[in-house]
């Protein structure tokens, strides 16, 4: 079974803090994704990566950055957390185009 794990299920941070969300997949997938999930808006793509050290902006990259130093690990960084970044963050990985993405359990981040 494909497993995608995320470093925390719940996280509470203060405004202005630097926040790291980590994602690890164990199936040697090329593609990895970070989404945020908000009620009524579905999932919106923040960043994705199709290879080590490669990254592409998604639909809402502002306020976020990413790092992919190893194939299995994809990190999302909030340089200076703000209250409007309070959300559920989902990581996903995929082997190839047109096929399914495998999702992690999500991190519910609250910024106070």
């Amino acid at each position: 079974d494909v497993k995608v794990t995320q470093s925390s299920r719940y996280l509470v941070k203060r405004t202005g803090e630097k926040v790291f969300l980590e994602c690890v997949q164990d199936m040697d997938h090329e593609n990895m994704f970070w989404y945020r999930q908000d009620p009524g808006l579905g999932l919106r793509l923040i960043y994705f990566s199709y290879d080590v050290k490669m990254k592409e902006k998604g639909d809402i990259p502002e306020g976020y950055s990413v790092s992919r130093e190893k194939k299995e690990r994809f990190s999302l960084i909030l340089e200076s957390a703000s209250t409007n970044q309070t959300s559920m963050y989902l990581c996903a990985s995929g082997a190839d185009v047109s096929y399914e993405q495998y999702f992690g359990p999500g991190t519910r981040l609250t910024v106070t």
């Binding site: 995608v4 593609n31 994704f33 989404y35 009524g40 808006l41 579905g42 999932l43 919106r44 793509l45 994705f48 199709y50 592409e56 998604g58 989902l90 996903a92 995929g94 190839d96 185009v97 047109s98 096929y99 399914e100 993405q101 999702f103 992690g104 359990p105 999500g106």
Partner: protein
């Protein structure tokens, strides 16, 4: 840019009955892929069913089937013999060919199956 719309924020159905979730999308592409994903409460998102736009035949996976109407840009999900375990958020998603596996999601439909 593609958009995906799910017009039903919430639905409910009695156990063993059939329910249909709606999804429409907007694209100028001729070839693409469509998906339904399921997110059970406090559990990970999983793929329910996948449809390739160039295939006319509607995809089916056990109790789950789709009604794909390409001209109308509609992609509804039918769940037959609903079970309590079908209670979840359901997301419709769109992927362009040659888009690097990038998905555009709809806003989701929360489905409650009642005993």
């Amino acid at each position: 840019a593609q958009t995906v719309t799910q017009s039903q924020p919430e639905m409910s159905v009695q156990e063993a009955e059939t329910v249909t979730l709606s999804c429409t999308y907007d694209t100028s592409e001729n070839n693409y892929y469509l998906f339904w994903y399921k997110q059970p409460p406090s559990r990970q998102m999983i793929l329910v069913i996948r449809q390739e736009a160039y295939k006319q035949q509607n995809a089916t996976e056990n109790r789950f089937s789709v009604n794909f109407q390409k001209a109308a840009k509609s992609f509804s999900l039918k769940i037959s013999d609903s079970q309590l375990g079908d209670t979840a958020m359901y997301f419709c998603a769109f992927e362009r060919v040659n888009a690097g596996n990038m998905l555009t999601f709809g806003g989701g439909t929360r489905l409650m199956v009642k005993p």
